[in-house]
């Protein structure tokens, strides 16, 4: 069932049959009117702000406005690319995004596979219901939780000191090496159960006769997972990967914004925080816009690359 749905993701194009467009138009006033209204809405709320991109080519001063601010060409981009912090922020965003992406898939699939092995229905249902609970908590709450459990008097340090015999608590937010993994862990904690929903559903729709045949051949549990379950999940995985690849640069916000501090800013600062720091706090609005443009363009390239690769390998496509 889900396979069927997924393949329908592709936008079927206009029917190739030559129809009389005018006749067709008369038949769809509701479609035309509502699409027109939605078009206007989309232009106002999504496309007009993009006109603000021109400020990236100006030395934009709010007091002067778009028209009277001085044009500076690519100077702001040059300034951006000469800024070491920008590259750190870009690197951090990309690394955290990729780590999150990998963890997202690995943990969700693993969790779905493990949960699928649970034969006691009650336990399975119970664990699954618990597992999506964190998805409904806001990032603000999750950030507070992360800060609390990793605090010097938090549960993790308590465990390390009482059970593992450490002398001093670890200050997790003062060590550069930890931050990305803290972010990754927070994402895993919050989203694994939720992300697993779709895999669990896909697993249930696998033809049971495949497993029966494998049983006949004396396949082990592990072999069944490896040779039947995982390949069956491939289309689902591919399409989700495609959708998420464009979001790699959206590596979260609250965790980095609230937990980032001076000691670890080299690894904690992400593009969105950089834009706030430089684009707004330092009052260089044009620089912030330039960084935003850069981010959008990279995201578009990633999506198109993903789509193109999917086309080449014969997998599902996004558009």
């Amino acid at each position: 069932m889900s396979r069927n749905a997924i393949s329908s993701l592709q936008t079927g194009d206009l029917q190739s049959k030559k129809v009389n467009k005018w006749a067709e138009a008369r038949r769809q006033p509701f479609l035309l009117i509502s699409s027109f209204l939605l078009l206007v809405y989309g232009i106002i709320f999504y496309y007009v702000p993009v006109l603000g991109w021109i400020t990236a080519f100006q030395d934009y001063k709010p007091a002067k406005g778009f028209l009277k601010s001085q044009w500076v060409g690519f100077a702001k981009f040059q300034k951006l690319f000469a800024n070491k912090t920008f590259f750190l922020a870009f690197r951090n965003t990309l690394c955290m995004g990729v780590i999150n992406l990998v963890f997202h898939f690995v943990t969700a699939i693993l969790f779905a596979l493990i949960l699928n092995e649970v034969r006691v229905m009650f336990a399975k249902k119970f664990v699954q219901t618990i597992s999506y609970m964190p998805h409904f908590l806001s990032w603000i709450i999750v950030t507070a939780i992360v800060r609390d459990i990793l605090a010097s008097d938090g549960i993790v340090n308590e465990f390390l000191m009482n059970v593992c015999g450490r002398q001093m608590p670890i200050d997790f937010f003062a060590v550069k090496g930890y931050f990305w993994w803290i972010v990754a862990f927070a994402n895993v904690w919050k989203e694994t159960g939720w992300n697993a929903i779709i895999y669990l559903a896909a697993i249930t729709s696998i033809d049971p006769s495949l497993y029966e045949a494998a049983d006949m051949d004396g396949a082990s549990r592990f072999q069944k997972v490896w040779y039947i379950t995982l390949p069956s999940l491939r289309p689902t995985i591919m399409i989700l990967l495609l959708i998420n690849i464009g979001n790699v640069l959206n590596a979260g916000f609250e965790l980095q914004y609230i937990l980032g501090n001076d000691v670890i800013s080299d690894v904690s600062k992400i593009l969105d925080v950089f834009i706030l720091d430089w684009g707004i706090s330092q009052f260089d609005f044009s620089l912030g816009t330039a960084a935003g443009i850069f981010k959008s363009i990279i995201a578009l390239i990633l999506v198109c690359l993903g789509n193109w690769t999917a086309k080449k390998t014969g997998d599902e496509r996004l558009f």
Binding site: S8, L9, I145
Partner: protein, 294 residues
């Protein structure tokens, strides 16, 4: 069918049980811990470690939260934006998805691309701010519900669901003389209940948890504050201004920033946690057929 259990199988069963127990503990501990602290006396929390059960029971932290006008106001606004925002968003996204999923719609492809682009390209904070300002959306409640009303992502989820509905239903209705609007209302929408429930959940969770818009667009208007933003403020008090003179003077009674934050967290998370088990059976179907997830 009889089956012999080998050592490997038993080891696996043990692993399974251990895994599930650890998983449930790790998932629930932070929430239970927060709950315990929220019912524990503030100063007592400084001197005693609280894990699962409060040591010195009190309701003072909750009283302090509800005594705050800002929280009461934030609760009203949050509920209002969640209901209104979800309703508007569901209607507009459903219509958009319906339009885009019609095979005969004249601008099907170009209109799809128009929306997919919006998922990845945005004008950035300041230009967006200026547009909202010109539309008089800043310093108003409507900035919470209008700008986010249509989202390409939610539209895609609904569209995929609608694509899976056989065309024959639409065609036979057309033969009976039904227009596109009628088909949408009386044929497609009733079939889309699961995906509508899913989107309801998506948007409601988003609306309930949003705070950045309140901070940026309604900073000067406490009457439009939202719960998460109030919580955010609380989080900051606990973190930073504990060091400032005034911040400490403020902590007059036995309510500490930590304890009041715990209570505020519980108040903020409980309503949405109550909703999801009831919607569970819908969103699993909706998500699966929608073929996409967040």
């Amino acid at each position: 069918m009889k089956k012999k259990y080998g050592a490997g199988d038993i080891a696996f069963e043990v692993f399974l049980v251990v895994f599930l127990v650890v998983f449930v503990m790790v998932t629930l501990y932070p929430v239970i811990n927060t709950l315990a602290i929220s019912f524990n006396d503030g100063f007592d929390t400084i001197t005693h470690r609280i894990h699962f059960i409060p040591h010195a029971w009190t309701l003072d932290n909750y009283k302090a939260v509800f005594a705050k006008e800002s929280y009461r106001q934030a609760a009203i606004v949050t509920v209002a934006r969640t209901f209104l925002g979800t309703a508007i968003s569901l209607i507009t996204n459903a219509i958009l998805a319906y339009v885009i999923s019609r095979k005969k719609f004249l601008f099907k492809k170009s209109f799809s691309i128009f929306w997919v682009i919006t998922m990845y390209v945005n004008g950035g904070l300041i230009p967006t701010y200026i547009v909202f300002q010109k539309l008089h959306l800043t310093n108003s409640f409507w900035v919470y519900v209008i700008p986010g009303a249509v989202s390409a992502f939610n539209m895609l989820v609904i569209r995929n669901f609608m694509n899976a509905i056989p065309d024959s239903l639409e065609e036979s209705a057309q033969i009976d003389g039904a227009g596109y609007f009628k088909i949408f209302v009386s044929i497609i929408s009733p079939l889309c209940k699961p995906v509508y429930a899913t989107i309801t959940l998506f948007v409601a969770v988003y609306q309930w948890n949003a705070w950045f818009d309140a901070m940026i667009y309604n900073k000067m208007h406490d009457e439009y504050t939202v719960l998460q933003y109030e919580l955010m403020k609380q989080l900051q008090t606990a973190m930073k201004s504990a060091g400032s003179v005034e911040g400490l003077k403020n902590s007059g009674t036995t309510i500490t920033p930590t304890s009041i934050r715990a209570a505020a967290t519980i108040v903020t998370m409980v309503p949405i946690l109550f909703v999801y088990p009831f919607l569970q059976r819908y969103f699993v179907t909706g998500l699966t057929i929608g073929g996409v997830k967040e």
